[in-house]
Symmetry: C3
Subunit: 154 residues, 3 copies
């Protein structure tokens, strides 16, 4: 799989979230799919359950719908810096890819902090039109604790 196209998919993913075009986010996944947010500690301890879990575009869309309701009064902003992807293996047109990320949170008053870092563990394959989409995106956060109420996509 061409690394340029993986870079492009990851760039679009980050842009959709950071520009708050959340409704386009589920479109970057296959249907059904696997989307899970978990922590490195959970993975190391063999805990399969994620903090956030979805197995279809419909579930992803539900998250966005609730995010739109909840966050009317919240005005923090997020900025994803996505690192360089490593292709771990390929078979049948699908690729296993790991890509590090860093998310900065910008508060209403301008204060900025490192909100999360971690690694995307993905299965990527083309859809019927040839566009690359996520069959799986497991978001493994480095930190042990984070606000489980936060609803933006990672």
């Amino acid at each position: 799989m061409d690394i340029g196209r993986l870079v492009e998919l990851n760039a679009v993913y980050a842009r959709v979230i950071d520009t708050e075009q959340f409704e386009q986010w589920p479109e970057l996944f296959h249907d059904p799919c696997l989307y899970k947010v978990t922590t490195a500690d959970n993975v190391a301890n063999g805990l399969e359950a994620g903090i956030i879990y979805a197995s279809s575009r419909g579930m992803l869309q539900d998250r966005i719908a609730s995010l739109r309701k909840v966050n009317i009064y919240e005005r923090q902003r997020y900025r994803h810096i996505v690192g360089l992807p490593v292709v771990l293996g390929q078979a049948n047109g699908a690729a296993d890819v790991e890509t590090p990320f860093l998310i900065v949170r910008i508060m209403r008053d301008g204060a900025m902090d490192v909100f999360a870092t971690g690694c995307y563990r993905d299965k990527v394959k083309p859809d019927t039109s040839g566009a690359l989409r996520f069959a799986e995106r497991i978001v493994v956060c480095d930190g042990r604790r984070f606000d489980t109420l936060v609803a933006i996509p990672f």
Copy 2:
């Protein structure tokens, strides 16, 4: 437009600033050009005026000249981490591109903080020699507040 060449242009841009070879910075723009630093809030509110504005290489060079005078006693350092570019459209050999960035500031005593995050909104096209240059670079900072005295290029 080849994404590898866009990556290269952005990498050189960041390096010129972080190695303090500021005099080479205007060379990365067309002449005339548009260089503007603004905030996401200003953009959302339809405010056109930027915090920093230049429309020619000469104006960019003036900024650098004043930076060289002002900052003799300042010793902070900056580090740009530029993310993955998204090509939004292309026409007549020019491309509309958005690229996220993160700037870390390193103080004289070694303290580091996230200085700025945001998105470059660019129009990129080749000059007569074929080298890619910025016809426009609009720097949209995520934070609402920043030190307007700061003179380094974003």
Copy 3:
């Protein structure tokens, strides 16, 4: 030298460290090699000596062995975000490359901070199998001070 392959080498380098597969880290270097960690101030002042220095895979392996002993009780985690490489020159199949980096440290309690930023100054060339490896990697940290006891590879 293809920029895609440089991106790949840097991505693998970061992944080996952040997944704590430290024993694979020396494999990314030629033997003999030059690995040095220093600061931008030292470089600016013409100080050649680095804070960390190795000239062979054996010395790199020794660092890892001591790291494995020392760090049994330490549980911080690191996340490298590697920026875009700039190829400064090429000759005889080797390339001079500079690549910015940002390292976030994640403490046991989940607190995160910017641990280091800087620039990798590399000489990269293929080994006999054609795989790109570092003949030199000089890690120039932006900050003046850092914990010299820290043993993870930068």
